[in-house]
């Protein structure tokens, strides 16, 4: 049998003592394994973040304007106070800005004059938080307790289809906001 032609070929890249074919594939394997595991863990955590929330809508109708009496109405299911002053409406959140308890409205028998940022204002009510004793004036400005900010004001609209009042919890507004009906 004639001697076989030499099978010796030039290696594609120079094999050094530290990097053999075996150690390279071992690294590939371990790398692949770790990537796979990281992917699996990501999947597990991702599955814990819900894609659909079956929560009450953040923009909702509350009824026709003439159903609301003069003064304040509490919309229990959405934790929001709706104020009516003749033809003007505005909505203030009942969620305390400290730790999210529902504030309670305290009605005064006689109008009370309070100083809010230098302005003198007549108030018929204030809001007290039962959890940690924060207090807010009738316009939602915090004045006592640990609350760091005023109660949120939300945009109100008139529904185009049936003329009901709409409260939009996704859109906070300033304290000068009034919906004129």
């Amino acid at each position: 049998m004639p001697p076989l032609p030499s099978t010796e070929r030039k290696p594609a890249h120079k094999e050094t003592a530290t990097e053999t074919r075996r150690s390279f594939f071992a690294k590939m394997g371990i790398g692949g394994l770790l990537t796979g595991l990281a992917g699996q863990i990501t999947i597990l955590f991702r599955a814990l973040m819900p894609n659909v929330l079956y929560e009450p809508p953040r923009i909702f109708k509350i009824g026709k304007p003439d159903q609301f009496p003069e003064g304040v109405t509490f919309i229990e299911s959405q934790r929001v106070f709706v104020f009516r002053n003749q033809k003007q409406f505005h909505a203030i959140s009942a969620e305390c800005t400290h730790l999210g308890c529902t504030v309670k409205m305290v009605q005064f028998n006689d109008p009370k004059t309070v100083q809010i940022q230098g302005r003198s204002q007549q108030e018929m009510q204030e809001f007290d938080c039962p959890c940690h004793g924060s207090k807010y004036y009738g316009d939602g400005t915090n004045y006592a307790g640990p609350a760091p900010a005023p109660l949120a004001w939300y945009r109100m609209e008139i529904a185009a289809d049936d003329g009901q009042l709409v409260v939009n919890l996704t859109e906070p507004v300033g304290q000068d906001f009034r919906l004129l009906v």
């Binding site: 934790r79 400290h98 308890c101 039962p130 004793g133 640990p146 760091p148």
Partner: protein, 438 residues
């Protein structure tokens, strides 16, 4: 009768050995006892040194597991049915009121006992390494701190499950503290609740955390805790005994080793015997350790059961997101935190930091960091390890006790001196009557 007697004897001999051989065999051959050392030193058996608080908290965990399993068979983790099923447990299920009461009291006691266990370890310098080889007690201290946190978190998750007013508002406050954390606050609350509101997703998540995830974590860390106690050569008070002996005798006797005869490179779990004259200062674990352990189990169960009969587990009105109960109080072991979040809103020239961040996140994180770092900052000598109120650690103990007293004081203020709208009322002052609904 003779056969019966022998069967009984075959079952119980490890617990009452009649010879030295049986005493040693009982540890090796009994599944329940095999994790104890066969010999135990006399000081570590003392009730006065440890008050057996660690064992008592393990017993409470066992009580909670057993009562919890029975409760799981009767409880429905759904928003519509949770409240009614807990009410059924209280009023319809035979002895349900007792099992729920025992579970609740057990949880309260476990928080207290685990806390006191930590206080004991601190005041005795039990987290300090002594003279033994391979000791790493600071690691076990950190495991203990994590176990305390897990105990608190277990109580907290269990709190939501009845879905009553108390539950709902405690969870509202708790998860909003999580929300005020920097960077990941909002996301971590979303993940914890499975949404933006406390609803079905939150109830199910807390249920799974409470019944599976957290107990598993406790079992894992508890095993590690006990394994480390063995590796560290037992309680720290034993090291003092060994040091006393070293001072007495200049030439130590060659000590026994329990390593695997050179097969294993390092020391096995049971390190070299620390005591020069083991026979004189130690005794057989069975029956001396087992007897005290059984006594601890009996006492813990008796106290918890009696309290469960006397103190009924409350069930408030069903959860109502529209009406916050007034005052809305967290469970007593969180009231120091509630007092803190109520007092710690900082205002500097119109710049406001929410008390939820200061009192709910920053202060507890600092306390936790100090607690974990303490063993590494403590540079007292080995002679201060395993001694109650060592004079070397007087300053340390004073600082620690001051913090403990402050926490207890805040807890007492929150529990007994806070009324409607978190107002301050002395116990003899009557609370104003408020309309239930406006």
């Amino acid at each position: 009768m003779a056969v019966q007697k022998s069967v009984w004897r075959r079952l119980t001999w490890p617990w009452k050995p009649e010879s030295e051989l049986e005493a040693g065999d009982s540890i090796v051959r009994n599944l329940l006892l095999h994790w104890f050392p066969s010999q135990v030193s006399l000081p570590s058996l003392s009730f006065r040194y440890s008050f057996w608080l660690g064992s008592a908290s393990a017993v409470l965990f066992l009580i909670l597991t057993i009562t919890g399993i029975v409760l799981m068979f009767n409880y429905v983790p759904s928003v519509e049915r949770a409240y009614a099923s807990v009410k059924d447990i209280d009023y319809v299920v035979s002895f349900g009121w007792f099992i729920r009461g025992l579970h609740r009291i057990g949880a309260h006691l476990m928080v207290a006992v685990v806390f006191l266990h930590g206080v004991r370890v601190f005041l005795t310098g039990g987290y300090k390494n002594g003279s033994g080889a391979g000791q790493n007690r600071p690691v076990n201290w950190i495991i203990g701190v994590v176990l305390l946190l897990l105990t608190l978190f277990l109580s907290f998750t269990g709190y939501l499950l009845p879905w009553d007013q108390l539950a709902y508002w405690a969870i509202t406050v708790g998860t909003n503290i999580a929300k005020s954390a920097p960077i990941f606050g909002v996301q971590s609350r979303f993940l914890l609740l499975g949404g933006n509101t406390i609803a079905q997703g939150a109830l199910l998540r807390f249920y799974v955390l409470h019944c599976f995830f957290l107990p598993m974590a406790v079992i894992f860390l508890f095993s590690w805790h006990m394994w480390r106690v063995r590796k560290d050569g037992g309680l720290a008070c034993v090291d003092q005994l060994a040091l006393d002996q070293k001072a007495q005798k200049s030439v130590p006797v060659k000590s026994k080793t329990y390593s695997l005869l050179g097969i294993a490179g390092r020391r096995s779990v049971h390190i070299e015997t620390a005591l020069v004259d083991e026979e004189m200062y130690s005794t057989h674990s069975s029956p001396h350790l087992t007897r005290r352990l059984l006594l601890t189990i009996l006492l813990t169960l008796a106290i918890a059961s009696t309290m469960a009969i006397v103190i009924r587990a409350p069930l408030e009105e069903p959860a109502n997101p529209a009406v916050t109960s007034n005052p809305a109080k967290a469970p007593w072991y969180f009231l120091w935190l509630q007092e803190l979040v109520a007092d710690s809103t900082i205002r500097i020239r119109g710049f406001t930091v929410n008390g939820a961040l200061v009192g709910g996140i920053i202060v507890p994180t600092i306390l936790l960091g100090v607690l974990i770092a303490w063993p590494f900052l403590d540079n007292s000598s080995v002679r201060a390890a395993g001694i109650w109120f060592s004079p070397e650690r007087r300053l340390q103990n004073t600082v620690f006790l001051t913090i403990v007293v402050l926490i207890v004081a805040f807890t007492i203020i929150g529990t007994f001196l806070r009324g409607p709208y978190w107002g301050f009322y002395w116990p003899w002052q009557t609370w104003p009557t408020l309309p239930k609904k406006f």
